[in-house]
Symmetry: C2
Subunit: 410 residues, 2 copies
């Protein structure tokens, strides 16, 4: 059963099919031909001729030169027209801001990243995003007014329709601030506002480690820990947009006090913050470690990762412990969600297998065999870019579908 009332507002049958064609072309690596489209969509070749012609007239797609064939007339492969315009993706993290500018084929032509503090509040932060966007655009050699759409990711739960964050665990001062409205006015183009982990999932699904996985969890392990969920091919946001907020799962009721008021939350074990804290504790306890060379209160997760890679046993142990605790939490996620794939991203995930192996081991140990055997756990293929690429995906969606629809009205 679907328990969901699918129906067809027939006035836009063609529009729906056009958008489906567009998305199939976008997300099929290497492009796709009319015949293949017809097969995937259960439509006839004739119908696709009409739809494809329409899309070519509006300029969003084009024919490639490659002509592959087994026997018979070779098929013409279709692709997104890279000249249909430019978009931007903005990744506002807790401690960094990064911006990508790309064409509608998701080819990145300029990129910038700067340190940042989300706790500075919306006025300061949005100003900073604005100026970095202008810098990045000028580096790409285009005017801001040439951007067709902009995707934005922020580390908080989002009310999609309203374009704002609601009751975010971090992001002080942002609660119910009209982020999308403010940015659309500033940039004079449509803005898609999304949760960062959710964009990570979208990015990895579209161009990364989880291409076309139907059930995917992207775990962002950075300053905090959050999950982005793609379930049955759709972004899952939950009732109030805060699905995937796993940072405050209770791992140990008697653990360290967390900023949220509870004890032993996942974030107190397996975030960048936690890794740094554990390292400082190790130094205080005079454990043998290269980390002693740093000023104690300035040790970062990155220092720990570097030391671990250089063979520092204490650092390795800290990271393995963080991984194991994340594994305990992910085992729960796997039992509950039963995904095809779990992609671990965010700053901490860059450490690599030193961190990921303990995660895999605990998940394997604590999850149902039926769920875990068919599932993969990997690091983000797009690395630091997962979220930015997800933001691009959203921006490109808006841009292409707008163009396609405009043509439709004529």
């Amino acid at each position: 059963m679907s328990t969901y009332f699918h129906y067809i507002p027939t006035q836009n049958v063609k529009s729906i099919n056009k958008h489906a064609v567009l998305d199939l072309i976008r997300f099929t690596p290497g492009g796709i031909s009319r015949v293949q489209l017809a097969q995937r969509m259960s439509l006839t070749r004739a119908a696709l001729t009409v739809i494809v012609n329409d899309l070519m007239e509006s300029g969003v797609i084009r024919e490639t030169n490659s002509r592959l064939s087994n026997a018979g007339r070779p098929a013409i492969t279709l692709e997104i027209n890279p000249q249909s315009g430019f978009v931007a993706g903005v990744d506002m993290g807790a401690t960094h801001l990064s911006i990508l500018i790309a064409n509608c084929a998701a080819h990145v032509i300029a990129e910038k990243e700067v340190p940042f503090n989300i706790a500075d509040g919306p006025t300061v932060c949005l100003d900073r995003a604005d100026s970095l966007l202008r810098e990045t655009a000028s580096q790409a050699g285009i005017e801001l007014s040439n951007l067709l759409a902009i995707g934005v990711g922020v580390p908080g739960p989002i009310m999609s329709e309203a374009g704002m964050v609601v009751a975010p665990p971090i992001m002080p001062g942002w609660d119910r601030y009209p982020i999308r409205a403010s940015l659309e006015k500033r940039w004079n183009c449509p803005v898609s506002l999304n949760n960062d982990a959710e964009l990570g999932a979208v990015g990895e699904w579209a161009y990364g480690a989880a291409r076309s996985a139907a059930n995917l969890a992207y775990i962002k392990v950075g300053t905090g820990v959050g999950a982005g969920l793609l379930l049955d091919g759709h972004i899952y946001r939950g009732a109030t947009g805060s699905a995937g907020e796993i940072g405050h799962l209770t791992i140990d009721p008697n653990g360290t006090l967390c900023t949220c008021g509870n004890r032993g939350c996942l974030e107190t074990f397996a975030s960048g913050t936690a890794i740094a804290r554990m390292a400082r504790e190790a130094v205080v306890k005079n454990q043998p470690t290269q980390l002693s060379q740093f000023e104690r209160d300035r040790i970062t997760a990155r220092n720990v990762a570097d030391a671990a890679r250089r063979g520092d046993l204490t650092a390795q142990q800290i990271i393995a412990e963080a991984g194991a605790q994340l594994g305990v939490a992910l085992a729960g996620l796997v039992n509950l969600i039963n995904p095809n794939m779990v992609v671990v991203g965010g700053g901490v995930a860059q450490i690599g297998d030193l961190f990921l192996e303990p995660v895999r081991r605990e998940v394997k140990r604590r999850s149902l065999p039926g769920s875990v055997n068919t599932m993969q756990i990997t690091t983000a293929l797009l690395g630091r870019r997962s979220i930015g690429m997800g933001a691009l995906v959203q921006a490109i969606s808006i841009a292409l579908h707008r163009i396609a629809d405009e043509k439709n009205l004529n």
Copy 2:
């Protein structure tokens, strides 16, 4: 973004809309008029005239006598034709088997329940289901051959397309046994095979405590613990059909050894089995309790519940402890899934608030305010019948949609 390729195989536009109309009529309490249907579906009244006439000709729906209006011509309310035929719902639990027979308006006309042991394996169990179905049918005064479709729920992860359970944690001997094929042959009518917790969610969504909640978790607390998920209006089964298997979430890594090989799984704290075990331990420790009157190895969760209701403090404490531990696990579920509503069902949930209050308290304490404030936790409104009613929903879906499609072919 949808990241899901919606398209319209145009040959059945009308069929799709017909089915949508049918489901809207089925699941709108008190029925719905043509105009309301038109509004919900973004179609015109004229289109609905045609579709509704079609459905009335096939006999699946009918006009009611109620004519409600504010001003103007009163609307004719439509409802499922209760005379379109009979269906059955089969709930095979770990320790009980229950069967409902109903008409397509989900009005139950006969009902039977017997003790049962799923561990007897498919041959024995399916035989028993077959004979109980025959008994129930004869009590209802209908022939087995009059059943249009039968919904079946079993306590294991299901491969929908194959109609079998795969790697079930309980259900020894059932792995990959062709349950659906076997039953369809036996009963000579279409069978829908589903996970029991999933059916609980469907039942409560359709006719229970969670009417039309878009994001719903049904928690079945019986011999074991499992969850059925309805996310964004769709049943969510996960990559391999084992989504919602929360019985073996690790609550305490140093806890009691579980049948699954790990320690401190949720089921060792918050299942019927666990409650009985804790009661036996209390008796062994000579704690003051009415439970001492029972033969020690025969104490059941039901005995504990009865004692708790009569004011036995030890029994109350055991139940509160089980509830609290379930609450810890559900807090994780709430943070991850962010549902509108959590419905707690299964035998243990019948205990009521003695059990549910500690659940609520722990969830409230450990979940994000943004997720928990808009969410309700309740006991199953349909009580022991949740799963059976869910099975009926599935059976009725098959029955009505078949009839509607048959007519369509003429």
